[in-house]
Chain length 547, copies 2
């Protein structure tokens, strides 16, 4: 059987657009002699529609769209993903389903059994699990259809509790009893750099264990925070990955099960390169799907805004990015010069706007209230917030989206000003630790010096008071980032982190900073997720807690 893997980028709720894309692919596959086209999980609605799934009209439109796509399936079959009403339960619950379409209609429906409800996944909120297992017979082949997590019953996790609870069954064990010829897995699996190899390992292990070929089709494209990386594969029954589709872009491939041909894998890349590609896609899709073209950001001469700008330029094009240089009296000359140089290297339009007059206006007006107090955080924040006003003014006036440049290390410890440098429609580096931001700058400069060397080598500073350095209030980033990774990604306790060899007082201080800054992150911009545990809706901590 000739199976087409259709790795596409969907827009949530855009039934017409998604259907048009899928029908076009079905027609192409038919012309090219394919027997079956496989799309990804919830391809009809885009993954993940969240509480749009609570709307009757949304579900009805999804049903209609499945039928419309089915009409294109004559002389070819397709597997598409969509929600479906469970008619056995008074029509009051939903399944997350795969529809097998053939002969112009829906031939059979297969529901997801293992519903992820952890980290960024929320499927028990909307779906109920499958309890029936069956295979599709088509052109003398028996096809076992699974949906994403259905194959994922061996996932490692830093969460001590709660993985794949409720399940008394392994979907593959059940399906294997029905003697399938091969397995299809339709998926919506977001990228995270520290789980990158694990996904392929699980699939390979499953193919080996059941001695069955697997067609794995993932979606690509970003949905606000989540970046789906594609990387769909065909694995033969010996567990060898025979075909691997592109990462971070749409792709399409027909595989003949009888004669899959030579191995074709994607080139190996390191984790910095992967994060880079993920973020470029994340920016591009956010703008595209929000209906915007242009970005603005504040260029400080520091490393975070420099790396953000390079990513934005690669995602949107230099002509669609406009930056402000916003020096104050504490900005060093070299900062302004470094920022200017970077903008010129990328041929990006920049304006220099001095914030000092606005800052002085605030401080003068507040002089009676502030009389007798020492200059401190309040004054530093006025500077950061004045910059925020300038950037939002440009954004509002010209219809740009402001990109936020905060990195994960700062975001973790609250080293940033709410309504100031925390402003933005999208936080590009909010899931990238500072040490990785440095590595990415080096990676960007590999062929030529785009980011001025001085931006990379100088000690990081917020430049909100004379001679300020980040290390005045934070540990060195190499140390800070290891403690943060242990606490956030690995979910280790303070005692376990100290056991890794860190100073107990420093560990305590860092964790306290993380915990007491939940209130700032609550109001942060959406963060492009590249790790296994990003700040945002995948990590919900109480704001008022004593722990």
């Amino acid at each position: 059987m000739k199976v087409a893997l259709a790795q596409l980028n969907y827009i949530i709720g855009d039934f017409d657009g998604n259907a048009a894309k899928m029908i076009e692919t079905i027609e192409r596959a038919k012309t090219e002699g394919a027997d079956l086209v496989v799309f990804s999980e919830l391809s009809v609605t885009g993954y993940y529609p969240h509480d749009l799934l609570e709307k009757k009209e949304f579900i009805r439109k999804a049903e209609e769209t499945v039928k419309r796509i089915a009409e294109a399936c004559c002389g070819i079959a397709a597997i598409v993903g969509a929600p479906r009403i469970n008619e056995n339960d008074r029509g009051k619950t939903l399944f997350n389903s795969a529809f097998f379409l053939a002969d112009g209609g829906v031939r059979s429906v297969h529901n997801k059994t293992l519903l992820p409800t952890y980290d960024i996944f929320d499927e028990y909120r909307h779906f109920e699990p499958n309890r029936d297992f069956n295979v599709v017979e088509y052109q003398n082949e028996r096809i076992a259809i699974t949906i994403c997590e259905d194959l994922w019953d061996e996932q490692p996790t830093a969460n001590e509790f709660g993985k794949n609870k409720l399940y008394q069954v392994s979907p593959m064990e059940e399906l294997a009893k029905l003697n399938p010829d091969f397995v299809v897995n339709i998926s919506a699996s977001p990228f995270s750099y520290n789980q990158e190899n694990w996904r392929k390992d699980v699939l390979v292990n499953k193919a080996k264990k059941f001695s069955l070929p697997i067609f794995y089709v993932n979606q690509t494209g970003a949905q606000t925070e989540l970046i789906f990386d594609g990387g769909s594969v065909f694995i033969d029954k010996s567990g060898e990955i025979v075909k691997e589709l592109n990462y971070f872009e749409e792709d399409y491939l027909i595989v003949d099960t009888a004669n899959p041909g030579a191995r074709k894998l994607q080139p190996e890349t390191n984790h910095i390169e992967k994060i880079h590609d993920a973020l470029v896609l994340g920016i591009r899709d956010y703008f595209l799907k929000m209906g915007f073209r242009q970005a603005t950001l504040g260029l400080s001469g520091g490393i975070d805004s420099a790396v953000t700008l390079v990513l934005a330029e690669r995602a949107l094009g230099a002509e669609n990015v406009r930056v402000l240089l916003l020096p104050s009296k504490y900005s060093s000359d070299h900062s302004v010069e470094d920022a200017r140089q970077l903008a010129e290297n990328l041929e990006i339009r920049y304006d220099v706007v001095n914030i000092q007059k606005a800052v002085d206006a605030f401080e003068n007006e507040l002089a009676p209230q502030f009389k007798g107090t020492a200059s401190g955080i309040a004054e530093e924040n006025i500077q950061a917030r004045a910059r925020g006003i300038y950037l939002m003014a440009i954004s509002n006036k010209f219809g740009h989206i402001l990109l936020n440049t905060t990195n994960k290390s700062e975001c973790a410890v609250g080293y940033g000003t709410l309504y100031g440098d925390m402003n933005g429609g999208l936080a590009v580096l909010g899931d990238v630790y500072k040490t990785d931001v440095f590595a990415m700058a080096r990676f960007m400069n590999k062929e030529r010096e785009i980011i001025p060397e001085n931006t990379i080598v100088k000690p990081p500073s917020a430049e909100l008071r004379p001679d300020q350095k980040d290390t005045d209030s934070l540990p060195e980033y190499a140390v800070l980032d290891e403690i943060l990774f242990s606490f956030i990604e690995q979910n280790l306790s303070p005692a376990e982190i100290v056991n890794k060899g860190f100073d107990p007082e420093m560990v305590k201080k860092v964790i306290r900073m993380v915990n007491t800054n939940e209130y700032k992150r609550f109001q942060a911009a959406p963060i492009l997720r590249v790790s296994s545990k990003a700040f945002g809706f995948g990590r919900k901590m109480p704001l008022v807690a004593r722990y």
Copy 2:
């Protein structure tokens, strides 16, 4: 049997504090001759700990605390709520449990069966459902212990799909087979004004249906957005509410099952009064649990900031609230005068800070960039953001929390400036429609004119340009609020709302405004929830969607 209902206010993760409070209550009850003290759901940890439940150390501390409380249970029994590791499942999953404590130890454990995972509830993320049912025998009484939603299998909901899925069982049907003498329900049920009577109805129906007395113990106190209203009850087997504890505060009562005595119910109040009491508690607890005492806010002379100020004064005391009057050239004289009058009526410290110089500094500096453009949203937002800077400066300098004054109608349609008037640590009125804000002002003025009459009767205006009125860009609030309620609380489709008799174009416009402003609400302050569907984590909509 003499049963003490212990309706307390807990702090999430404060094991020592919560345990001390519970042990003190156990000792008091013992002195007063009670046989059993009933605390609320997850009382040991506070409801709801969210992803703290993913930390092994957190669960271990909860276990230790349960044992510590058990040691106080000699000559008296207690029922407390805490998470518990499911040792049958490789210790990898958790139950949400009720512990029956007696004779200095844990006598039995009873797990929650119906785990809410909708709206603000997220229990499948952390827990697995109970599958075993048993009753406790104590002093010749057979007690059926249930946890919150276990009795809630008849809940009405505006969500078409997803309520109480997964369940093949009704916990009360199972427990009734074991011939209990009475039912205990330990609960953590947050207040919402449009579900207020339904909760009691469900309990009454259950008592009647099974002909069993019910002791229902709810927690009180606010946990950031969620306000738990208490209102614990004892219902006899005929379904009569015999005792009803206070609302919105801690309370405690011993009921003798053999002789419960005369009926004692709480006075009836209307929904505005209830929202008022909820918000006062919400503000008070947020400050208390965050470790802050003082609030600031911007007083515009309009109704939203006026009502917020009265609530803050009642929650924190006049001496702990400080306001800024922040007029610009577009502020009318009467607005400043109304604001001043209100502050004086409440004896609140106020300062007048003119924002015009700062606004001029921004506009002058941006003149080259803005040249040739018409004044519009960008300029209006500069004013709102300059006010935001002044308020945050006072907040940062003096350690106040800035209270946000946005109402639900504005929040819904995005009528507010991000990083401007959307600033704040807590959004007091973010779940109160404008029409209810007016009603609350009238309610506050019932005994004397606190809020100047002019603030109530003048047409609402943001005063960001000459002669601006809210109705320039929005329908009348009476109409707007009905459309919003239909769309948000009732989850109706556009066609269904039009069928209520609204203009189709207006419905379309309003819904479009709601949908396109998800990005603003994403960064909004936490909103005190008083309705069945508040903006925030109980209503998760995709930011990039075409629907």
